[in-house]
């Protein structure tokens, strides 16, 4: 709710200032990149972050190619003379403070912790960039797509358990977007049952012993080797979880508000239905 109030105040400020939608929008946040590139009128977006061009991280990597990129530093932003900068909750405080001191309007987005909050954020950004109709359309499309997917049906007793397994053995629990998506797909989240809030470490032994029905891992990325990935390729994990029980999802799909959230739920539901019947406990 607070976010709505902030957005409204911002819009009021904008409206009182120029009486028109922003014409020079700069995004210094990856999730904001996707929203502005999807929603803003053409030519208005003057810069997005350099991460937006990375297909492993961004859902709009193609569109981002036609827009200059910035490194999220105030130095990159100020010369572009933006009339709206969209930052994220994790953007450095110093950069945001500097921009605000220079009188540049900054819209700060938090990390949505549910699909509903994601819809709110889409609406907020759509309003801020002067395209509220497109925002509403996108939200409506997504809601329709969520409803249209076949709901998960036949489980003998309880819903299957899924575990998100990230590099370095991290999992994601309650209060996160992916958790809400798992719920909508009809799955239980192992991290929640282990009482993990948001990001938390899950030891390989515990993961194996907990025997989740589905393992959700990032799609293969070609970004060079790292020790962080070793745990994901541990022989113990690979021998216990064959292809049928691993869902390969690009992390970009569930990190930011956007139409890809629907694809996540669809894929999860599909994978859940492929499970052998005695998998659900």
């Amino acid at each position: 709710m607070l976010r709505h109030a902030v957005a409204a105040a911002l819009l009021a400020g904008l409206a009182s200032g120029s009486n028109a939608a922003p014409q020079r929008i700069v995004s210094i946040n990856l999730c904001a990149d996707e929203l502005v590139l999807r929603l803003a009128p053409p030519g208005v977006v003057k810069s997005v972050t350099w991460l937006a061009r990375d297909p492993a991280l961004s859902n709009v990597s193609v569109q981002a190619r036609y827009v200059p990129v910035n490194r999220g530093l105030a130095e990159d932003v100020v010369p572009l003379a933006p009339d709206l900068v969209i930052a994220g909750a994790l953007t450095t405080r110093t950069a945001v403070a500097l921009l605000q001191r220079l009188g540049i309007p900054v819209l700060e987005l938090s990390l949505p912790s549910s699909v509903e909050e994601a819809f709110e954020q889409i609406a907020t950004v759509a309003a801020a960039v002067g395209a509220p109709a497109q925002g509403a359309q996108l939200i409506a499309d997504m809601k329709q797509a969520f409803a249209a997917s076949p709901s998960v049906l036949t489980f003998i007793s309880a819903r299957p358990i899924a575990a998100v397994y990230q590099p370095n053995g991290f999992t994601i629990g309650s209060g996160s977007l992916i958790n809400d998506l798992l719920k909508r797909a009809g799955l239980r989240n192992l991290a929640v049952e282990q009482r993990i809030d948001n990001y938390g470490a899950l030891s390989l032994e515990l993961l194996l012993f907990a025997q989740p029905d589905l393992l959700i891992m990032n799609a293969v990325e070609n970004r060079g080797p790292a020790m962080a990935y070793e745990i994901l390729r541990h022989p113990a994990l690979m021998s216990w979880y064959g292809e049928a029980r691993v869902v390969s999802l690009p992390s970009a799909w569930w990190s930011c508000p956007g139409p890809r959230l629907v694809d996540v739920v669809q894929r999860l539901r599909h994978a859940a239905q492929q499970l052998p019947p005695n998998a659900a406990r």
Binding site: A201, L204, E205, G224, A226, W240
Partner: protein, 345 residues
Amino acid sequence: MNARAWSPPARSSVTLLRPSSLLGALVVILLLLSAVSLSVGRAPLDVGAAIAQWLRGESTLATLVLIELRVPRTVLGVLVGASLGLAGAALQGLLRNPLAEPGIIGVSSCAAFGAVVAFYSGFSLTAPLALPLAGIAGALIAVLLLYALAGREASTLTLILAGVAINGFAGAATALALNLAPNPFAVTEIVFWMMGSLADRSISHLQLAAPLMIVGWVLLLNSGRALDALTLGEDTAASLGVRLGRLRLMLVLGTALAVGSGVAVTGAVGFVGLVAPHLLRPLVGHQPSRLLVASALAGAVLVLAADIAIRSITVGPELKLGVVTALIGAPFFLLLVMRLRRAVI
């Protein structure tokens, strides 16, 4: 004097008894710790049942966790600890200085640098053996650098200074390599390489490191007699038949093989090669040859104990192995330096 006042003991039977009982005691402790190590972990594993299942040829979740997770971790801990203890004892015998150990003189950190280059460049994906070999190459460079900087009969001061220089260089080079690595996780992984960890190591890591480690052990263990002779200096040792050049080569290669291949799969674990020989030396009459095996066993015991301690702490993310060994080893090191300050530096 009156030679008949003392008759020679038959084959020094008294002194033969003590070494075998010391080694026996160490082996027993090691076996006990290994059993504990297999029983400790986040999962509620019934080790006895798992072993029984494995012996029957069954393949269950319990056998999976036991064989693929706990056994490699335990065995690798033993191997790495033994390598560090053995290399520490051998280096101290060669350099005739109780402060020499793979971590302090820079061998471990240079090995880590080699491994980092091989791993993050992707080279070790195509040629897995490149990983331990790169670690060994790094270790070799460190020893050669040490000889170049400190010379053959280096004083403690020169030795430590050379070690500081090599460690500084290796640390900086490793940080640079990690920064340049294509994967964004790389930068944060310096902690693994500099502090070491046995977490989630698999049988494939064992297979990579063990053969070369054991070759290194053979080279080091063979140097026992020559190290004894070196007690009296290089000239006397040469007069007792020691081939000094060959000895140095064997020790350099042996240390590089044993330490380098271990560091490549677990990162640099510090201070074990300092503490293990120091604790055991009085128990073997300060004799370098008798220290080798004892120090290896003590090193294995130390690493296992540290790893068990880490896994027994259930709060928070798992500590790195090097943190615990440093907590024990660094004060130890300070004590040693203070004690040696009284002797001529």
